[in-house]
Amino acid sequence: MPDPSPAVPVPQLSPAAFHILVALADDDRHGYAIIQEVAARTGGEVMLGAATLYRSIQRLLEQGLILETRERPAPELDDQRRRYYRITPRGRAAARAEARRLQQLVELARAHGIVPARA
């Protein structure tokens, strides 16, 4: 299937980076919130470590897949030490491309009977 994503090629994502982008897909979040969101969505299976998280964030920022937002929540909910991150359109494209790649892999495995066909 041809890739309909933008002309600028999107970089390949590590699993941690993919999780972070997915966690940011519907809302801006700070670091610890990202960890919690990923844990919640995976049923506690993926617990990102702080070091992995911030190294991924640094690379995602450099690659322009996320950005640091200046908008902050209401003062009573805010912590000055926190920084909030937001996914960029390029980040969305990258996450979409990665999801498609994973899906293709799953279909490949299914076609060869490694995972059961969907009911």
């Binding site: 960890i35 070091a51 640094q58 690379r59």
Partner: protein, 861 residues
């Protein structure tokens, strides 16, 4: 929490500054939300491990970025990059090459298992501590010594191998059965000698070297049990030694058992054995020396005449190295270090200049948010990258240089010809490269870390920092100093070489071909048969076109220095005490004519001196001076080599032991008067031929003549007399040439350094100089200012260098052949060369300064 914060210091500082506090906050929250001690422990373990892995990964990310950036920056300035890489390559290459040779010769253990317990034993006498040992003393030492696991004797010999192709003369060693097992080297094929092999009357056996086995027997495993003819007697091949096995020296092609006839133990003055022994485990060298001193003392009391003042010298086999070889190598290492010092200071200078030139760029990047540590990191990356490239190239330089240094590997050692590149050498090259990178990279990096601030952005920032200038000046002084040391040292060695080469050897070596036809025993046992061989060969050779004369002698001068016998004249008795010795040579009549040794009185040995006639001798002038200083020597007699001899002629002295050692007086006896079956070692074997045409062109014809006279007789050691003389100074010549080229490189590097410094100063002081010119200073004054700066630096370097050079010269005094360490001509030449180099280095910057347009310079500011 503090521990986690401490862990974060593993990150690059820039990363920590950006995310450190957030990471701490996240960690804190996770820890709090984990229930119980076990939960907290899990958080600690996972987060701790996570930090370790990611910190390393972050460093790697940065390094990759820096490398990319650095590669681009270096590619933009190819001149600087190329200079830097070449300078490092020279420093690393010179040091790696010097190290690999020095390590090979001086440091590495000999290639025998447990070689640190192998020792050599010599008879020690006043004045000379290493004399060969007589069989009788060997036997007594061996039976009395308790400190040795085993002791054996050997004797370097040469043998004629006949059959299996052309007859050949081969270097060999006769060894007692103890020797090879003691070295703990297994034969590649067959067995080594057993006790039964070296008994008198045992059948002849022989061991082949790997090289001889391959070249002569085609590597055929069926060689075991084959009979070969050595010096006319049959020997059975019992084994082949492995590749890389050398003993006692490189070049030995076969080994035979050393047998002693029953009467060999009678004459305690017959010294020809070399002894090797293995210390018992736990016995120190000192203990062995102490015991052998006692043993030798007892033997001296038992045999007061033969063993007068005879001790036992015990040294490690590893230390059997001529002092001169050791000193040559150490000098080489010192010179290489000088080059490294110069290379490092030169690079530091180059990089400092580059950093200063880039100050605006660096300041801009700081202003744009790059942390100071990122800049330092960037500059360090640049040094490391340059060092790595230079080091790689340097290794290549070393690989190419090592074969050229092979002449410095003495062939008297049981090791190969040239060192191979191995892990030790690679490690050393890496170390030197690392030292270089740190030496020249850290300075500019630290400087950048300290100095990059906003002031770098201001225009005219060039006037910043007399301190930087001072540092760069110190570096230049160090370069000049090191080049002076090298120049003076190589100059002194060159003078020593010339002095040694200019010594008159007492004979004329030009136009003389030499070769050896060693007549085997027992075939040529009888003197008459040998004389017949000489007569036929010499008659035919002398008749060849261009040949002026030809003769035979026992050993060629310089090629063999020994062959010394005691002399007794009247009541001066033979004894060890004093200098009553002379070198013995048997010759055929035309020897003096062939080498053009002047006849001072009487005649030389002649055909008419028969074996049954009166024993006659020609002696050298120093012999006459010693024994009959005030009388006519002709017709006088002396006791020498078992007989009373009558002096019939006096000839000029020659340097038998070469130009660097004192030679004994010489005694020449007629070849016709070698007693049958006695003094066989001295039977004439070396042919000398003087020709008015190219002497080497004679060789094929002479081969034909020898083949006609005796088809089984091999020819070996073909050389011209000039080559033999040149060999005496070969290692000196290599050394002088080597140090000379290192000095040239050093001079060049120092010139580059001075040029770089002054170029920078001139552009830095452009405004000042322009103002001076605007105020009326003439071009000449500007030239003087710039040149003056260069010359002041050079003078400081030369002054320090001369002091150091003097110390270096004293350390290598033994190499200098009595050229004084403060040789004024050498110092003057070194000084002039340095001055010329400084002026050349200053010239272009000075010219540029004097030609600058003052108004333009001022406006540009």
């Amino acid at each position: 929490m503090g521990l986690y914060r401490a862990l974060l210091t593993l990150y690059p500082r820039s990363f920590r500054a950006e995310y450190g506090s957030e990471m701490c906050a996240v960690f804190e929250q996770r820890r709090r939300s984990a229930g119980g001690a076990a939960g907290r422990a899990v958080v600690w373990l996972t987060e701790g491990g996570d930090v370790l892995i990611n910190a390393a990964a972050t460093h790697w990310d940065l390094a990759r970025q820096d490398l990319r950036f650095t590669a681009r920056a270096l590619a933009r300035t190819p001149g600087f990059t190329l200079t830097a890489i070449l300078v490092i390559a020279l420093g690393v290459g010179a040091n790696t090459a010097a190290f690999s040779v020095a390590d090979f010769v001086l440091l590495r253990p000999l290639p025998y298992p447990g070689s640190d317990r192998l020792v050599k034993l010599w008879e020690g006498r006043p004045g000379y501590s290493r004399n060969e040992v007589s069989p009788a003393n060997y036997r007594d030492w061996k039976s009395a010594g308790t400190v040795f696991e085993s002791m054996g004797a050997y004797n370097p010999i040469e043998l004629n191998l006949v059959g299996e192709g052309d007859p050949d003369r081969l270097e060999a060693a006769a060894v007692t059965a103890e020797v090879l097992p003691m070295l703990r080297v297994e034969p590649a094929l067959g067995r080594v000698f057993a006790a039964a092999d070296d008994r008198e009357g045992a059948p002849g056996t022989v061991l082949l070297s790997q090289g001889l086995w391959q070249s002569r027997f085609g590597g055929d495993a069926g060689v075991l049990g084959r009979r070969v003819m050595l010096d006319g007697t049959p020997h059975v091949v019992i084994g082949v030694m492995p590749r890389g096995f050398h003993f006692p020296r490189r070049g030995v092609a076969l080994w035979t058992p050393l047998m002693f006839r029953a009467d060999a133990f009678e004459d305690r003055d017959d010294n020809y054995l070399e002894l090797v022994a293995r210390l018992r485990p736990g016995v120190s060298l000192q203990a062995a020396r102490a015991e052998m001193a006692v043993v030798a003392g007892r033997l001296e009391r038992e045999y007061p005449r033969e063993n007068e003042q005879t001790g036992a010298t015990v040294i490690r086999l590893r230390d059997e190295l001529p002092q001169q070889s050791r000193l040559l190598l150490l000098t080489l290492c010192g010179a290489a270090l000088c080059i490294l010092l110069i290379a490092c200071s030169n690079l530091a200078n180059l990089l400092l200049a580059r950093t200063l030139a880039r100050q605006k760029e660096l300041a801009l990047r700081t202003a744009l948010g790059a942390g100071r540590d990122r800049l330092v990191r960037q500059l360090l990356t640049e040094s490391v990258l340059l060092a790595a490239m230079g080091g790689g190239l340097g290794l290549l330089v070393a690989v190419m240089a090592v074969p050229l240094l092979a002449r410095l590997v003495p062939d008297a050692l049981p090791i190969g010809q040239a060192p191979s590149l191995d892990v030790r050498v690679l490690l050393f090259a890496g170390l030197i490269t690392g030292v270089t990178a740190v030496g020249f990279g850290v300075l500019p990096a630290l400087r950048a870390g300290r100095d990059t601030g906003l002031e770098g952005l201001r225009d005219g920032g060039g006037s910043s920092g007399g301190r930087k200038q001072r540092l760069r000046a110190v570096l230049v002084v160090a370069e000049v100093m090191a080049s002076v040391v090298l120049l003076v040292s190589s100059g002194l060695l060159l003078r020593a070489l010339w002095r040694v080469q200019s010594l008159d050897p007492g004979f004329r070596s030009e136009g003389v071909l030499t070769l050896r036809t060693a007549l085997p025993l027992p075939k040529y046992d009888s003197t008459a048969r040998r004389v017949e061989f000489y007569r036929r060969v010499l008659t035919e050779v002398a008749a060849l076109p261009g040949v002026q004369s030809a003769a035979y002698i026992s050993f060629l001068p310089m090629a063999m220095g020994g062959g010394i016998w005691p002399v007794s004249v009247g009541d001066r008795q033979v004894g060890r005490r004093g200098n009553n010795t002379a070198s013995l040579r048997y010759i055929t009549p035309d020897f003096f004519k062939t080498l053009e040794i002047p006849l001072r009185a009487g005649r030389g040995p002649a055909e008419s001196d028969r074996l049954d006639g009166p024993a006659v001798a020609a002696v050298s002038e120093s012999f006459v001076r010693r024994y009959w200083p005030d009388a006519d020597p002709l017709g006088r007699t002396f006791e020498f080599a078992f007989q009373e001899r009558t002096v019939v002629g006096v000839v000029g002295d020659i340097l038998v032991r070469g130009p660097e050692q004192a030679s004994e007086p010489q005694v020449y006896l007629p070849a016709t008067q070698v007693p049958d079956g006695s003094i066989i070692y001295y039977t004439p074997k070396d042919l000398v031929v003087r020709s008015s045409l190219d002497p080497t062109a004679l060789l094929p014809t002479i081969r034909d003549i020898v083949r006609r006279v005796d088809p089984e007789q091999p020819i070996s050691n073909v050389r011209t007399m000039e080559e033999i003389v040149a060999e005496q100074t070969a290692s000196r010549a290599v050394q002088a040439r080597l140090l000379g080229s290192l000095a040239a490189v050093a001079l060049l590097l120092a010139g580059v350094g001075i040029h770089g410094l002054l170029s920078y100063t001139v552009s830095n002081r452009a405004r000042e100089l322009a103002v001076r010119m605007a105020l009326g200073a003439r071009r000449r004054d500007i030239l003087a200012i710039v040149l003056g700066q260069g010359i002041r630096l050079a003078a400081a370097g030369v002054a320090l260098g001369v002091v150091l050079a003097h110390a270096a010269a004293r350390a290598m005094a033994a190499l200098l052949a009595s050229v004084g360490p403060a040789d004024s001509a050498t110092l003057a030449v070194a000084g002039v060369l340095c001055l010329a180099m400084v002026i050349a280095g200053c010239f272009f910057p000075a010219l540029r300064a004097s030609r600058a347009d003052p108004m333009a310079a001022i406006k540009a500011e």
